[in-house]
């Protein structure tokens, strides 16, 4: 795990990028002083890729999240025609719980707000599903996080993806040697998968947001607890393979209170005060990284996603709602060599 993770982070940009491309991105970024060159390269590399991302203010968890998310849908041009009749799976980030540590998991108010907003656009069914990475006991996490009670009150079903039936599907990414990928049947039965993560730093990946959150769709019965196989295969590469294969339709990020420092579980709360939404997950995550005042090009999975799964360059992302500058706040990272590139910028 240790070596595997270090290696995967260090070589993250090397698998799918040619040496020449690496000199453009990796070289420019890692050596410093050439950051502007890297940005220009990335901008050009993403030619033709455009995405819209919405940022909506939410001072705390008493906010009306249904309203904010509806506003986001409207700003992004998502209407009844997109949602009506669809079966939608919301994938929050529910990792583990501890008293007074509400900043670990996606807040239930955000999840329930999203459910209601989707129902108002006449979704046929909305389910919430997660395959916890550290914990086999979904009931305990639902109990202790308050999510179980919130879902019960809202009449929403929860599916434990760790113990769902699973089927083999081709790995459409090819960044790792994981083939096939095993995915839960429930995930494959829906029309839309919406990633609903918590905005956090991550002591290996740098940042965990809507793309890394999809680790949680991989069934623990096949991948273990923790999903150590994905670490061995390479965290950034696994993120890319899962996202390429699952093809999530949308992301709604709980960035009301995030986590900085030793994320994704042992860090400290960080007030941000917003919800970030969009159809393109790399663009959403890049926007979130900018809100964290960190460097999206230094996050290996985002650097690799750029130009392939979506745009991460600021000029290719149309910002809706609040401007990034209004919410930008520096997230502290663990002081570790493999995270230096994330912090620079």
């Amino acid at each position: 795990m240790d070596d595997a993770v270090h290696n995967s982070v260090a070589t993250a940009a090397s698998r799918k990028l040619s040496r020449r491309e690496m000199l453009g991105v990796g070289g420019a970024l890692l050596l410093g002083g050439g950051i502007a060159t890297g940005f220009r390269w990335a901008s050009g590399h993403e030619r033709g890729m455009r995405a819209e991302v919405f940022i909506g203010k939410a001072r705390d968890y008493r906010a009306d999240f249904t309203f904010i998310i509806q506003e986001g849908f409207a700003a992004l041009g998502i209407g009844r025609g997109d949602i009506q009749g669809k079966r939608i799976l919301l994938k929050p980030n529910l990792v583990e719980t501890a008293p007074g540590q509400a900043h670990i998991n996606t807040h239930p108010a955000v999840i329930v707000g999203a459910v209601e907003a989707l129902h108002r656009l006449d979704a046929r069914a909305v389910i919430v599903a997660e395959g916890h990475g550290h914990h086999r006991d979904s009931r305990l996490i639902l109990d202790e996080s308050g999510t179980g009670a919130a879902l019960e009150e809202a009449g929403v079903d929860f599916v434990d993806l760790n113990h769902d039936e699973f089927v083999a599907v081709p790995n459409r990414g090819g960044w790792t040697n994981l083939a096939p990928l095993y995915l839960p049947k429930t995930l494959l039965s829906v029309d839309w998968v919406i990633s609903v993560p918590k905005l956090k730093t991550h002591h290996w990946a740098g940042v965990t947001c809507s793309m890394k959150n999809l680790f949680g769709v991989m069934p623990g019965v096949v991948y273990g607890w923790p999903k150590n196989v994905l670490h061995y295969a390479g965290i950034p590469e696994s993120i890319l393979d899962i996202n390429t294969t699952v093809k999530p339709s949308f992301a709604i990020v709980d960035a009301v209170v995030g986590m900085e420092g030793d994320g994704p579980i042992m860090g400290t709360p960080k007030d941000v005060g917003c919800i970030v939404m969009g159809r393109n997950l790399p663009a959403v995550d890049a926007t979130c990284v900018r809100i964290m005042n960190l460097n999206p090009y230094g996050v290996p999975y985002l650097a690799q996603a750029s130009g392939r799964l979506g745009p991460i360059h600021e000029s290719n992302i149309a910002q809706r709602g609040e401007p990034i500058a209004a919410l930008r706040t520096r997230f502290e990272l663990l002081d570790a060599p493999h995270l230096k590139s994330v912090a620079s910028g």
Binding site: H163, A168, D262
Partner: protein, 302 residues
């Protein structure tokens, strides 16, 4: 009003079995090895439906591969962390059923003794545990963790290999993964600067494997963590394993029948889940086939 919940849960568990043997995690789902093993263990404790029980054991035997491993489901050949559970289920059936699974147990034990988790070069700056100890992994060719190591230790003990060096290594690994302040999680004690949190389920699982072991401060700390934790837990997996762990150390709380009933009432209101149902039954059983061996070993060890 008190209810005879074990009867209701047992009925539901029996009804959830597939016609040709095997249980899925959820009602109607394709059979998987773990719920089938746990269901067989539960049925062995209650001795009610011998035919369903026999079909479950036979389903597991059909799944066993020539090398002795038992994969997690019939649609894959790996991972095989469930091999220990299958061996445990077959061991509990010895003398109870017409079919003798001794050969299957031996093959499974041989596979367990051949396999181990992947060690990692020590890096104390990053990890708090001894990354070189050979336990068992969830997935072949990855690191060792508490739960698969527990299943292997329990299975090898049940197969009469209590003194085998691999069992002793497994016990050492489980003890090494104890959180310094008490209890266990999946198997990381510290990563970078922070000590991680224990959870009740893995703590119960670890204590179950350590049931027959001599006294140790890490075991005492695990019990000390779990005793005040369980009264608030009504999630079947954590409560059941927590109680089995305490039972294996002879520390079962007097209030456990009430907790189990409250949990069972809740579980019976939701859809059938063979893993939860079986674990509740095992936690309530007078003669739990998972923990009784630990108690026997403890007696032998004096």
């Amino acid at each position: 009003m008190p209810m005879n919940w074990p009867v209701a849960v047992l009925d539901r568990l029996t009804a959830a079995a597939h016609a040709d043997g095997g249980w899925g995690y959820l009602a109607g789902a394709a059979p998987c090895t773990e719920p089938t093993c746990l269901a067989c263990l539960a049925l062995s404790a209650y001795k009610t439906d011998t035919e369903t029980y026999a079909r479950g054991l036979a389903w597991l035997a059909r799944l066993q591969r020539p090398d002795g491993s038992v994969p997690v489901a019939s649609n894959v050949t790996s991972p095989c962390w469930t091999t220990g559970l299958a061996a445990l289920a077959w061991s509990a059936s010895m003398g109870e059923t017409a079919v003798n699974y001794h050969a299957q147990i031996e093959k499974a034990a041989a596979w367990l003794l051949r396999t181990h988790g992947k060690p990692i070069a020590p890096n104390p700056r990053v990890y708090g545990h001894d990354t070189t100890l050979p336990g068992w992994a969830w997935v072949e060719n990855s690191h060792s963790w508490v739960e698969p190591t527990t299943y292997a230790v329990l299975a090898l003990r049940a197969a009469g290999k209590e003194k085998h060096p691999r069992v002793r290594d497994g016990v050492r690994l489980i003890l090494d993964r104890a959180i310094p302040n008490g209890g266990w999680n999946y198997g990381n004690t510290r990563v970078f600067a922070n000590t991680l949190r224990p959870f009740p389920g893995p703590t119960g699982i670890a204590l179950t494997a350590l049931g027959g072991e001599p006294s140790d401060s890490r075991i005492d700390s695990g019990i000390a963590y779990l005793i005040p934790e369980l009264p608030r837990v009504r999630a079947p997996l954590s409560l059941s394993w927590g109680l089995m762990g305490l039972s294996a150390r002879g520390k079962r709380p007097d209030e456990s029948p009430q907790w189990l009933e409250e949990c069972a009432r809740r579980v019976l209101r939701s859809g059938s889940n063979a893993m939860y149902d079986a674990l509740l039954l095992l936690a309530d059983a007078d003669h739990c086939p998972i923990t009784h061996r630990s108690l026997e070993v403890a007696t032998t060890n004096g």
